[in-house]
Subunit: 307 residues, 2 copies
């Protein structure tokens, strides 16, 4: 049998759990079945994929492990795309968003949606960027909001997995978070290139990821001093206020954070951009919400980007 998603799932599980038997119980199989799955994969590719005792990927296994999540995601996305055609609730909307992506403009559009959709059954879910996209693709959410830094009116470089539609929801000034007593805190603006050697907090789920800053500045640096996972903006702000490092967030949001001096980024010319992402065949409520978000942006209505 040729590389079969089933086998891939157990492959990933085994390496996740670092154990054949643990993977078996997670997947509801016997240990023997898992052993046979891995053996089948290895026979198919005629390479050893997993080193046992300790359980770890071989070089070939590492390559496969790089492909597997995308494959499994795509499979789920295809399935979700089809089931969405049948189960579409006109008043139910599940919105997944990255922490800094739900700004005033989007919130107003949500309020507007509530006025037009009488019993609006809204569920909001705060996730990291990747998880937002994953939720939208696999049907966990009807619509998603992701944010990032980009040149004005440039699209965000989102991973392109499956047919989704992306459209600009908001663009705000980008700001760097300084502690109030920082020498640069009183400045009217800063240049990012002057901060490449500063200490940063790498908070990829909350603030602009540091590798993104490196990319837009075309510069090295931005070395993390603290790595901050999770979607807690105030925790991040507390760290930044206490001088653990810098982080980049949209100015309107950053200005409200306690203990923080938010200084706009002057160069390179960047904005904090929020994009709304939904499947190519959105649910009824998602479509209406997307219309509201874009309608309020006339006259300079951003163009839909079909990836």
């Amino acid at each position: 049998m040729h590389v079969n998603p089933h086998l891939l799932r157990t492959f990933v599980a085994v390496l996740d759990q670092r154990s054949f038997s643990a993977a078996a119980s997670v997947l509801g199989y016997t240990q023997s079945a898992v052993s046979q799955h891995i053996a089948a994969l290895e026979a198919d590719l005629s390479t050893r994929l997993i080193e046992r005792r300790p359980v770890a990927p071989t070089p070939a296994g590492a390559r496969l492990l790089e492909h597997a999540p995308a494959l499994l995601l795509l499979l789920d996305a295809a399935r979700a795309d089809i089931t969405r055609l049948r189960h579409t609730h006109p008043t139910r909307l599940t919105l997944a968003h990255a922490p800094a992506a739900l700004g005033p403009a989007v919130a107003r559009a949500l309020a507007q949606l509530r006025t037009t959709t009488h019993p609006l059954d809204l569920e909001v879910r705060v996730l990291g960027r990747d998880a937002v996209i994953e939720n939208v693709l696999t049907g966990g959410a009807d619509i998603g909001l992701v944010d990032g830094a980009a040149a004005p009116s440039d699209p965000l470089p989102l991973p392109n997995l499956g047919p989704t539609t992306t459209l600009a929801a908001a663009e705000e000034t980008l700001a760097v978070l300084f502690p109030r007593d920082h020498p640069l805190a009183g400045r009217g603006s800063v240049r990012l290139i002057d901060l490449t050697q500063a200490q940063w907090i790498d908070a990829p789920d909350t603030a602009i990821p540091l590798d993104r800053l490196r990319a837009v500045c075309r510069a090295d640096g931005f070395h993390p001093r603290v790595r901050h996972r999770g979607t807690d903006l105030h925790g991040l702000a507390a760290l930044a206020a206490a001088g653990h490092g810098l982080a980049a967030l949209p100015l309107p949001l950053a200005a409200t954070l306690p203990g923080i001096a938010a200084v706009p980024v002057a160069a390179p010319r960047l904005v904090h951009r929020t994009e709304l992402i939904h499947p190519a065949n959105p649910t009824e409520a998602a479509r209406r919400f997307a219309d509201l978000v874009t309608d309020r942006q006339v006259p300079d209505r951003p163009q839909d980007i079909v990836r």
Copy 2:
């Protein structure tokens, strides 16, 4: 059994062939098996996917058909990535490139490779952009060259399928192809925005695709008068010279085409960019070739872009 690549393959084949029995003979199955495959898929997703007599996708089937090629490609890419770890021939290099992507800079790098690699077993394959990427991913080629239009030193927006490494190979002036007797043929430069309403040839395999021009100009227009498929540059030039429409190509190349007045594009600020693409784990020869291409670009060595 849950959505299984095997079933997806027959699904795609059935819609390709518009016939169950034709798909069966193509795949080496009996018609009965194909029928059962489709029935299994439809049962799994509990939706009708294909309308019979005539054989055509239902809306749900159309959605699945949108996902299926990417899935099957990713599967092949994963397999190719792993087999590449074992079968790596140090003197064998298969290069796939889009027609306008093999410019003087790359050709010189190839010549240089020949001096360092004694019996160089080189195979060159000219393909459309998508096919180049597909070949690189599935192991059909060790390395690929794709071209496109972008702002200077901006990366090309390539579909992101699987782990590949992309690096800039060349940037040349972009030119529009006019017939020699065209009123604008004598101009020193043109602005693309002035040509949105002109008649264009849509030659996505050869010249810059028109939807790309629309995207970089942020403008509508660029309506095709002729659609030209295939990788024949001189055929395209003949059409352009005869006044069938305009096309965009790199200036050094366009200047050599018979009957053509190649006029540089002045605005928006664009270049014809060539990128070299190879798998995250390249073969020996591919790695050496990539090194040559980038080394000759010192001092302004472009940065690697890992997608």
